[in-house]
């Protein structure tokens, strides 16, 4: 019996209580950083022991929670969940360090902010590690609470509007999912919420379609997929930079992760049926998100819209139902966390210095802060999927995987690479190039703390660009398994048509 996953969830929870209890603010910050680093180390040790071609779920732990309903506290990871947990535990210490002075100025408690960060970390690990559908739902909703407070209490001028919008959107989707979860439980009639018990338990295609929609809408809001996306720019623009990183970098991945894990495996026939719809939404999202991003005047909103475009790529890869597509999509989730995370953090550093989110208030920053500009460029280039940087591998895999089954959608989506170049480089030009604006003349370059924040991200962006194999080796078997159900359905329907 392993206790890896429950330890990973437990350590930040205990840490959060400890941080909330500490009186000294600096101590609280240091403790938070320490706890998040400890979690990172633990997760790394666990990941090394993972065997890619072993059991589907590893490090499994199952405890009865509500035995009368067959609800378990079931934990376990496959390759997909593992890389996403790694993404979360890598981002949290970075975010902690980046948010060092984030809460200092406001009237709200600094300790609470860092405690919330740790609670959020526990929830994020839990949501990816849950092997019980009900437990997944609980983490899925519980994740909202710390994020709601981080946006609503520590955010920008319109924080309460953004926080409420975020919460309502997510709750709406979550409740649809809850209905579907309960319906799935009673229709399956297995007396258990365990994922492994529920797989393949609903055979009727009509029922599958309704249940699929319940799950899918929740995930489409979370991801977010066009046209459920408008909460993201508001939430990301109002959230403090660190929270925005976790929001877009990890929380939104729960949506795409859920599609891959639950929608495809639990409802393969419905997934096959809805594939065209999802692909249309994805492709519209890719192009639309990119075009709207070009027209933004606010840096953080711009980055949020680029993410909407990127999520289109991820869902397209998932629903291409090919190994390359789904592996690329999973890798994309990780890469997007790093590259967009870096972009949000650097934008945050810029905004912190100048006090404005608007692009027009900048200009010529490269001259006064070359390192900041350089990191911004690297992160941006990763965002536009430049080969040699991480996003390229995943984007190319998604596109090539989609092209195998859905060439038309893939070609339209590929136009996104041109649009990506426009929105990133135009933003870079307007903020960093040209004559130095008077307002930024006194701007300081990155300080030591900020360099430490960005160094691991930039290193990962470059390293995964040239050597994505370690992640892909873990992802590929898991993904092959995930899409096999749908492939089976597709083959059956092809055979039927043949007869």
């Amino acid at each position: 019996m392993h206790y890896w996953l429950s330890t990973l969830i437990g350590v930040p929870v205990v840490g959060a209580l400890g941080v909330a209890a500490v009186k000294n603010e600096l101590r609280a910050k240091q403790a938070t950083l320490g706890v998040s680093l400890l979690v990172l180390v633990l997760a790394a040790i666990m990941a090394v022991q993972f065997s890619p071609n072993g059991d589907k779920f590893q490090f499994t732990e199952t405890y009865d929670w509500v035995p009368s309903f067959g609800i378990h506290f079931g934990l376990g990871v496959d390759g997909i969940a593992l890389v996403l947990i790694l993404l979360s535990v890598v981002l949290v210490p970075i975010v902690v360090l980046a948010s060092w002075h984030e809460a200092d100025k406001g009237k709200r408690s600094v300790r609470t902010y860092f405690a919330l960060l740790l609670v959020l970390e526990a929830m994020m690990i839990g949501v990816f590690a849950a092997t019980d559908v009900f437990l997944f739902y609980v983490f899925f909703e519980a994740m909202l609470i710390p994020m709601y407070f981080m946006i609503g209490s520590y955010g920008g001028a319109q924080r309460s509007y953004a926080a409420v919008k975020f919460l309502l959107y997510s709750l709406f989707g979550g409740l649809l999912m809850l209905v579907a979860v309960i319906a799935l439980y009673s229709i399956a009639d297995k007396g258990s919420f365990m994922f492994s018990d529920l797989v393949g338990s609903v055979q009727d295609v009509g029922t599958q379609k309704w249940l699929f929609l319940g799950f899918f809408i929740a995930f489409a809001i979370k991801a977010p997929l066009w046209p459920f996306h408008t909460w993201l720019p508001d939430a990301a623009a109002q959230a403090p930079a660190g929270a925005a990183v976790l929001l877009v970098g990890v929380l939104d991945k729960v949506g795409t992760y859920g599609m891959l894990r639950f929608c495809l495996e639990l409802f393969p026939a419905a997934a096959d049926y809805f594939t065209p719809l999802v692909l249309v939404l994805s492709v519209v999202g890719i192009v639309y998100g990119a075009i709207v991003a070009i027209g933004q005047t606010d840096m953080k909103r711009l980055i949020a819209y680029t993410s909407i475009s990127h999520f289109g790529f991820i869902t397209m890869g998932v629903f291409a139902i090919t190994v390359n597509g789904a592996s690329g999509a999973t890798l994309y989730m990780v890469n997007h966390g790093f590259s967009t995370g870096a972009l949000f953090l650097i934008a945050g550093f810029l905004i912190h210095r100048r006090g404005s989110q608007y692009i027009k208030d900048y200009g010529g920053v490269q001259k006064v802060a070359p390192i900041l500009a350089g990191t911004f460029l690297v992160a941006g280039l990763s965002g536009l999927a430049l080969p040699g940087l991480n996003s390229f591998v995943s984007e190319f895999m998604v596109l090539i995987g989609s092209f195998e089954t859905q060439p038309v959608y893939a070609i339209i989506a590929t136009s996104g690479v041109v649009l990506a170049a426009i929105y990133i480089l135009w933003m870079y030009q307007r903020t960093m190039n040209g004559p130095t604006a008077d307002s930024v003349r006194e701007m300081k370059d990155l300080n030591v703390r900020e360099k430490w924040v960005l160094a691991p991200l930039i290193a990962l962006i470059v390293a995964l660009g040239f050597f994505p194999k370690p992640l892909l080796d873990v992802i590929n078997p898991a993904v092959t398994d995930s899409i096999s159900q749908v492939q089976h359905v597709q083959k059956a329907s092809v055979a039927q048509e043949g007869q």
Binding site: V323, G374, P387, F403, V418, T436, K469
Partner: protein, 634 residues
């Protein structure tokens, strides 16, 4: 003859040919990460890695020469890049790639050395060398990769280096805009290349050159043509061919060594490499894709030449010329095995004489306080003798003066085009005539005639670190063409990589086309002499006829792009933002406001009077009971 089989290789210098890429990449990494600490020796390190890479290249070349010609295609597996797509990533060492390696590292090293002098007063010289090194590494990856995805990585890598270097003086808005434009237009081309790779992978289930070659037979004609045309789109973007030519002229905002290395000698010729490399598979003789390549080539060679005739900016005139010369290479590459050797040979000689002339132009600008307007030059031959002499050699080489490099290679292209299709051939001859005119115009305006300098200009010859590269490049411009072409030396060397035509061409010094070409070139030069050499050159450009405006404005390329893509794009962007804010978000906020409003009305029910609450409880209970009776009695 078909291209030779690709065989795996280990050991020797070829076994460590990854050093070719690793050395300049290391240089770039050290200089970029080291920051200001490396300022003192940055330029030296940059030069050292480029030269070291050149030495490795020469050693690899020598080892390759030791093999039997049929075994000169070696692949060196490196590591698993993307499992399932590129495993393993390898380097392909064959006569084609090694020719490029030598050109890139050789000319690249010379331009590195030149840049020490040219950028001596720039505070960011270290960064400049870092970017140059990055470029060399990416370009080498482009030509050495043994598969299309590796090529794509290099392809966009050089695009990045080009972006960084065009925008090197990024405090100038024009430079920043030009850099962005270059990258975006290239991305349009990359869009084509990417889709070509998708089709290649789905058709052949591999992206490696070797795999595509061996499993080629079972692909449908339609997908082969589609791949060919899409590869051509990619090539057009990178090589500034019509219709994606517009970025190259703006790219002259970059420092001149960049224009010489990237936008003349190496990167812009990547399209020719792509077509040649994929030639046997996707551009077979007479196929739709191959015909498209020749048409694009001819159209661009004329367009570039016409643009070159009207530009007063010395670098832009040279850029027009580059477009035109690459048009020649594309034309040759589209012809098939009969043209590949000429395309690559012209590419190499062009790399020498155009780099020579760009560096010469840089030397002139260096002397003239960075003035680029040729109308403000004149009579410089006396004050800058070395620059003048080397420039003249480049000039004579490009117009095809007998026995210089360009004479052999360009004539080869014209001859094989004639044989392939007479119309294309004569258009190429016409292009050569125009070349004679615009290059002569450039030379006469710069080095001959009266001084038209600005008051504060004090031209002087450049330092030795800048003139020596010029001398070496001009030496190459003299001898290289003859050496490569005579006796079909280069064609047989290249044969294992690209194949041989059915009958080998023989060099006729006095063919009809050759003589007409020479006559037209002479006529063009004479016209230029009367207009710009002997006559008075006004310091401000005269308005000129409709045709002059047409050429001066790059054949309205930018205007077309603006009207067709930029304006509608901006309009679309505004529409989308409006739709997002008012449409989708409006719907959401409207729903929220609706619910809020309804609740606002409903809460008025809460009057605060206990008895009214009691009444509503009573009424509610009565309704329930009543309903129960009704339902119960149904």
């Amino acid at each position: 003859m078909e291209p030779a089989k690709i065989i795996e290789h280990a050991g020797g210098v070829i076994g460590v040919s990854w050093l070719l890429i690793a050395l300049p990449l290391l240089g770039a990494a050290v200089l970029l990460l080291g920051g200001r600490r490396t300022d003192r020796f940055g330029h030296l390190l940059g030069v050292a890695t480029a030269v070291a890479s050149f030495v490795v290249g020469v050693l690899v070349f020598l080892q390759l020469l030791g093999f039997d010609p049929a075994e000169r295609r070696r692949v060196v597996p490196l590591y698993d890049f993307i499992p399932g797509l590129v495993d393993p990533m390898g380097l392909l060492i064959d006569p084609l790639s090694i020719s490029f390696v030598l050109l890139i590292t050789g000319v690249g090293s010379l331009i590195h050395i030149y840049s020490i002098g040219y950028m001596a007063h720039d505070p960011n010289r270290r960064r400049f060398f870092a970017y140059l090194n990055l470029f060399v590494a990416a370009m080498l990856l482009l030509v050495l990769a043994d598969n299309y995805i590796g090529l794509y990585v290099g392809w966009e890598g050089v695009g990045l280096a080009s972006y960084l270097l065009i925008g090197f003086w990024q405090h100038k808005p024009s430079a920043a805009t030009a850099a962005k434009k270059a990258f975006i237009v290239n991305r349009v081309g990359d869009f084509g290349l990417a889709i070509a790779i998708f089709i290649i992978f789905t058709t052949f289930n591999t992206v490696s050159f070797a795999g595509v070659m061996t499993s080629g037979a079972d692909a449908s004609q339609g997908s082969l043509t589609a791949i060919g045309l899409l590869l051509l789109l990619g090539a057009c973007g990178k090589s500034a061919q019509l219709p994606l030519q517009s970025w190259l002229l703006d790219a002259m905002e970059g420092p001149t060594p960049v224009s010489a290395l990237i936008h003349a000698a190496t990167m812009v010729t990547a399209g020719v490499y792509l077509v040649t490399r994929s030639g046997a598979m996707f551009f077979p003789e007479g196929s739709t894709a191959a015909i498209a390549v020749t048409i694009v080539g001819v159209a661009t060679l004329l367009a570039g030449a016409i643009i070159g005739t009207a530009k007063d900016d010395i670098k832009k005139a040279l850029a027009g010329s580059t477009m035109s010369q690459i048009g020649y290479m594309m034309l040759a590459a589209g012809i098939g095995p009969a043209g590949y050797a000429f395309a690559i040979a012209h590419l190499i000689t062009h790399g020498f004489f155009k780099a020579d002339m760009f560096l010469g132009a840089g030397s002139v600008m260096h002397a003239m306080n960075d003035e680029v307007d040729m109308r403000k030059y004149g009579g410089l031959r006396k004050v800058m003798p070395i620059t003048f002499a080397t420039f003249m050699i480049g000039y004579l080489a490009i117009i095809g003066f007998p026995l210089l490099s360009g004479y052999f290679t360009k004539d080869g292209i014209i001859e094989s085009a004639m044989e392939h299709n007479a119309t294309l051939g004569w258009l190429a001859v016409l292009g050569a005539g125009i070349t004679g005119f615009y290059m002569s115009r450039l030379v006469f305006m710069t080095f001959f005639g009266k001084k038209r300098w600005e008051a504060d200009a004090h031209p002087h010859e450049s330092p030795a670190v800048m003139t020596w590269p010029l001398i070496i490049l001009s030496a190459g411009s003299i001898v290289l063409g003859g050496y490569l072409i005579l006796g079909n030396r280069f064609m047989t060397f290249l044969a294992p990589a690209v194949g041989l035509p059915e009958h080998l061409p023989s060099f006729h010094p006095f063919s009809v086309a050759g003589l007409v070409t020479l006559a037209l070139v002479a006529a063009g030069a004479a016209l230029a002499w009367f207009k710009y050499g002997a006559g008075e050159v006004p310091v401000t450009a005269p308005r000129g006829s409709f045709l002059t405006t047409f050429a001066r404005r790059d054949l309205y390329g930018d205007a077309i792009n603006e009207a067709l893509f930029m304006r509608p794009g901006q309009w679309l962007t505004r529409l989308a933002v409006f739709f997002d804010n008012r449409g989708i978000d409006g719907l959401v906020n409207g729903l929220a406001a609706g619910i809020g409003g309804t609740s606002g009305r409903l809460r008025r029910v809460q009057t605060g009077f206990v008895r009214s609450y009691a009444l509503s409880i009573f009424v509610g209970a009565a309704i329930l009971v009543g309903a129960w009776f009704v339902v119960g009695n149904l």
